[in-house]
């Protein structure tokens, strides 16, 4: 089953398309990272998936064909919007009671236990909690609804590194225990490297890349070799990014399959890191590729 299906989905605000021609089939059981720069259309896509925004074009369904925003869809999805909105004048206990009343299923015992674990006092006003605690409260409320799909819009943005780890640990535990699927948007790529197993890259309102991270990593290689042969060699591949130094050229290419790139004398093929891959797709096509420092050491020659 797919947790999210979109077909030619688009949203226009005034003259600007925030998202367009977005066709995705996101499978269940993954932590799907939705990445892209600010203004890429991440929030727009999430709002339409949660039923908050109405598409200008196309369709979006969730959990195997339920129209976004329909009662059946709202029942199965929990959405934590950016900045984790909670009623600041209500106590934590009241937020629990409120969410319990507004939903068919709500695991109060789970929510209480988790808040205890996090040291969030039930009597405290939500508005008096720290940013990290508010995010954890919103996440707890969402998880206690026992959703099948959890949508988190920039949940890490307001958190310090420790809180980010705690937050992601909670999400991972819920995935393992309840089999909940997660769609999480972020521009903090480093954190996602470890946890996301499915990737959607958005830029300028369009999908640049999507797929399981293992598959994506398996079918991309950085080819390094002499500049003089670069043009001839590049012609054989789908080149995502072409960077040339004085003598060496670095071609980030998409190989036809997980199979290794054909060897050519004088060239080396390296695996590509997730962050590097995302950045490469965000930079191309269009803007001239600026020199890019490699984050990770090129680890191993491709098999």
């Amino acid at each position: 089953m797919n947790v999210i299906d979109t077909e030619g989905l688009g949203k226009r605000y005034g003259d600007t398309w925030a998202l367009r021609e977005c066709t995705l089939a996101l499978p269940a059981g993954h932590l799907i990272a939705l990445v892209g720069p600010n203004g890429a259309g991440k929030t727009t896509l999430m709002n339409m998936t949660a039923g908050l925004a109405v598409p200008t074009a196309g369709t979006v369904t969730v959990l195997g064909g339920r129209p976004a925003g329909s009662p059946a869809a709202l029942d199965g999805i929990a959405f934590v919007a950016q900045d984790a909105p909670v009623y600041k004048n209500l106590s934590v206990a009241d937020m629990l009671h409120l969410t319990g009343n507004l939903n068919r299923s709500f695991d109060r015992a789970f929510a209480r236990a988790r808040l205890d674990e996090l040291g969030i006092p039930a009597r405290k006003k939500s508005g008096k909690l720290s940013g990290g605690q508010q995010a954890q409260l919103a996440l707890t409320l969402a998880l206690a609804r026992r959703p099948r799909l959890l949508i988190l819009d920039e949940p890490l943005a307001a958190l310090d590194p420790l809180a980010r780890q705690d937050f992601l640990a909670t999400v991972m535990t819920a995935m393992a225990d309840d089999g909940v699927s997660v769609l999480l948007s972020s521009h903090a790529l480093a954190e996602l490297d470890r946890v996301a197993d499915y990737l959607v890259v958005l830029s300028g309102g369009e999908v640049r890349l999507d797929g399981e991270t293992d598959d994506l990593l398996a079918c991309h290689r950085v080819l390094t070799g002499p500049v003089a042969e670069a043009d001839a060699y590049a012609g054989q591949f789908d080149v995502v990014q072409d960077r040339r130094g004085g003598a060496q050229a670095h071609l980030l290419v998409r190989t036809p399959g997980p199979a290794a790139a054909p060897a050519r004398a004088g060239w080396e093929a390296h695996q590509v890191g997730l962050e590097e891959l995302i950045l490469a797709y965000l930079r191309s096509p269009g803007t001239a590729a600026r020199p890019l420092a490699l984050h990770a050491e090129p680890t191993e020659v491709a098999r």
């Binding site: 709202l74 900045d83 068919r104």
Partner: protein
């Protein structure tokens, strides 16, 4: 086109039953506790004052009407005292009563939805399993019922409080400032103000502009009703009866809409005080319809609101 030939739609085979309305009762109470406590508390405090002041005023009036002979200086002194001291209180409260619905609409109605949109909590509220239309309908209905119940009861007390002034100040129950403070229409005007507040709150998505526009539109409508609408409820009569055309003004004098002469006979178009209840029903009726339309428009905006 029959059910049998419909392909099984994934996800629609288990369309959930809506969550019960009563769940919104707690939600509404908890979220709007400040309003739901402070409104009755404020009106309750004023009611205590009305009761205490009202007993004194009723007593003063009873003494005054029993005073005999009326032309004696003692009676004239009582009369003058009543017209100054008691009427100052009565007149002030009458003005406040005419403004109360507007204030209630601005302070209790406008923030109901505007605060959710201003603070972003609508993104929480509208993505819960309850569903945003039903959430809005339940919340607005419950708050409207509370507002109508409290203000309706309050206006009955005010009606009792104000009774001595009608005869004494030659005000009748269909005169502009008195009519809207009693019977059905005070609660109906308050309902309209609340509905205006909620509607403009949803339209502007900001509390302050919604409050300002609610006040403005309410006062405009109230003024239109005073000066224009009430004359046109098709209840006016025409007469040349000198008792009506030229009688002394009392609290049972009709509302004279206009007059003209045919030869030396004066004719008037007027609305007799006996038309009080038909006027009440007509005015409460259109206020109720307008309020219902505003609530429906507000719910439509909630449904359509794209973010």
């Amino acid at each position: 086109m029959t059910v049998l030939t419909m392909p099984a739609q994934p996800g629609q085979d288990h369309e959930p039953r809506p969550l019960p309305w009563r769940r919104m009762a707690w939600v509404t109470w908890r979220q709007h506790r400040a309003t739901l406590i402070s409104l009755p508390a404020t009106l309750g405090a004023i009611a205590v004052f009305l009761l205490i002041a009202g007993l004194k005023i009723h007593h003063d009036y009873a003494v005054l009407t029993a005073c005999h002979p009326f032309q004696s200086s003692a009676c004239q002194q009582l009369n003058s005292n009543f017209n100054q001291t008691d009427w100052t209180i009565g007149n002030t409260l009458l003005i406040l009563m005419n403004l109360a619905p507007a204030l209630l609409g601005a302070f209790a109605g406008a923030p109901v939805l505007a605060r959710e949109l201003e603070t972003g909590t609508f993104r929480y509220a509208w993505t819960q399993g309850y569903g945003r239309e039903r959430w809005a309908i339940a919340k607005l209905t419950l708050l409207a019922v509370a507002v109508v119940a409290v203000t309706g009861a309050f206006s009955q007390l005010f009606t009792w409080f104000f009774a001595p002034f009608l005869a004494q100040e030659s005000l009748n129950v269909i005169s502009a400032t008195v009519f809207a403070t009693r019977g059905l229409v005070f609660a109906a005007w308050t309902l309209l103000a609340f509905a205006l507040g909620a509607f403009f709150g949803m339209l502007f998505r900001r509390i302050l502009p919604a409050m300002a526009v609610t006040l403005g539109v309410y006062l405009g409508l109230a003024l239109a009703a005073w000066t224009f609408l009430r004359k046109h409820y098709f209840l006016s009569l025409v007469t040349s009866n000198p008792a009506i055309t030229g009688g002394r003004i009392t609290n049972s004098s009709p509302w004279i809409l206009n007059h003209w002469f045919v030869g030396s006979t004066q004719w008037v178009r007027y609305i007799p005080v006996s038309r009080y209840w038909p006027m009440q029903f007509i005015e409460a009726g259109w206020l109720l319809v307008l309020s219902a339309l505003l609530v429906a428009a507000t719910v439509w905006l909630v449904r359509r609101r794209a973010v």
